[in-house]
Symmetry: C2
């Protein structure tokens, strides 16, 4: 079943059939109706491979994310896939894991599949070393590369991100203004965004005239982190003699671990201890007490990323290279901010 069958059935040439399929205006209404009827009757669908061969595109976007079982990344993939579909693009999904070589291999694979663009979801794709980011620049020579929650200044690379540093800065300042000045920062990623968040914490302390104590900053360096891991981390901090009246974390799951510790240690929250998470997911409403967290506007990021990509495809001359959204602090019951 191909274009020739429609051609035979209707008595017009394949060129005309093709014109009807592609909505060309240079077809008489009568012919168009006849062709459309035949297509309907025979249930004909154009062969995408043949089309792809000629046009060198199959309207497919490669999506790379480290691990789409991570709720944050899963939601991002969800929004992106929806937006792409609205624009008639399909999504070729690749969960690359966190290993650099695997990411690079995956990129090569996607490019060999002739995707029209690649979207890198999550700040873990941007490394501190230029050398490690090279494969992204190389890819960008072939197709547009979109970064969600990451930033890289290079030709044909477009970044959409949330100002995580400012968000953590604001949270930290709120802690301090509310009288919690002995703060611990718990984080689990040295990614681009992870580093920026930490800087936000440091800056807030500095600007409040509070010295940054390095033993109050604790990295749990692992992916697929559990509540138990976080609980252990905070417990071991206490064992080392670190004292604190507030904990700020880079992820809700870490904050829940702190809550579990606090319950065991019979600390009263928020009286004895303020706790804040990041991402504002389900779990921040499941835990007890419910968690103050930061909503980093993931849906906006994703929508904007796709609409930017469409502008790039449309050869729009005024496409923003970098767009930054502001996060929003959602206060629940693990803090009691002093408002004034």
């Amino acid at each position: 079943m191909n274009i020739y069958d429609i051609s035979n059935k209707t008595g017009v040439s394949i060129a005309t059939v093709s014109r009807v399929i592609n909505g060309s205006s240079n077809v008489s209404e009568k012919t168009r109706a006849k062709v459309l009827a035949a297509i309907e009757e025979l249930g004909y669908t154009p062969n995408v491979f043949a089309r792809g061969l000629g046009l060198n595109t199959m309207k497919t976007i490669g999506i790379m994310c480290a691990d789409c079982s991570d709720p944050y990344l899963a939601r991002a993939v969800y929004y992106i896939e929806q937006e792409l579909r609205k624009n008639s693009y399909d999504s070729l999904l690749s969960c690359t894991g966190y290993d650099h070589d695997d990411k690079e291999k995956c990129m090569t694979m996607l490019l060999s599949k002739r995707v029209d663009a690649v979207i890198l979801v999550g700040s873990n794709y941007i490394e501190a070393s230029e050398e490690l980011n090279k494969y992204i620049l190389t890819a960008a020579k072939t197709v547009p590369v979109m970064l969600v929650n990451g930033e890289l200044n290079a030709p044909n690379v477009y970044s959409t991100l949330c100002d995580d540093a400012a968000a953590i800065y604001d949270v930290t300042r709120s802690f301090i203004k509310s009288g919690k000045k002995n703060l611990v920062y718990l984080y689990n990623s040295l990614s681009y965004s992870g580093t920026r968040k930490l800087n936000g914490f440091r800056n807030a302390l500095k600007e409040s005239g509070i010295p940054v104590q390095e033993n109050h900053i604790c990295l749990i360096d692992s992916h697929g982190i559990t509540v138990q891991d976080a609980k252990n981390a905070i417990a071991s901090l206490v064992k080392k003699g670190v004292e604190f009246d507030g904990v700020i974390t880079s992820d809700d799951i870490l904050a829940v671990g702190v809550l579990k510790y606090a319950k065991e240690a019979e600390l009263s929250i928020p009286d004895d201890l303020f706790v804040a998470g990041y991402n504002n997911f389900d779990i921040s409403e499941c835990c007890e007490p419910e968690l103050t967290s930061v909503d980093n506007k993931l849906e906006s990021l994703c929508r904007h990323c796709v609409s930017t990509l469409m502008s790039v495809f449309a050869d729009d001359k005024t496409v923003p290279k970098k767009t930054v959204f502001s996060a929003e602090i959602i206060e629940r019951n693990t803090t009691s901010f002093d408002k004034k």
Copy 2:
């Protein structure tokens, strides 16, 4: 850059280049080396569209899931994508939503993209009415259709699922054996699996000689359900005068809602009230007290589904049409089962 460039560079015909690329044995070692060197040097990659046109496949599998921001479905997609990649297949992801027409449209779209198979993730794809499942049977005439957590007995359709009914049956029996006989069942889906779970609950009561009270069975008919929704549902049940000493739910999030209600009503868990969830996700460890839940072996389901698909592709004559796994009850602190 195409196969002719390699041909020119090496002085052999494109046929021979093609043979080298595809690992044909009928090539002299010397020629092979020469061609391989040229491919490497020029950085040549075969055009997948041309290849697809000839072979009528691009080694791509369509994955349909209602909503990959749902943690359960997200994890399923993750496992499936990984397994497919191991077998050199790519994943074309489509989040269809829960509307039947959208699902059908999406299926048509995937088939028009000439995917090699379609994997339907989640029990929501199987409807009670045969009419509504028709589009799946139609699709199965073109490509194999794999069901994860769903069942449909039809040619070229393969089902992999977990025995949810037995799991809920076992949980309910454990409640009863532990002295909790006045049970509420809270659920949020009338899908294939949702119905089966409910049957498990009913059967356990019947076999224990406990009459099934319909006002103890509560459906919250909505997707994207929140903890608050579940809390409200259980509260309104109480307002109606329903009394109970145990709540079994079809999803962890519902169970967390019950916990939130219990805290407010100052019920002691598990003394006054047993609660059990389903899915055994993060949130079952985040809530307080931590939730007894059912692990339904999602990873096994997904791995098995993909390996079955590979058998189908390999034209293996002994492919199982339906495979059922057993769930595992993970007891935490919202129950205190009597073991004997």
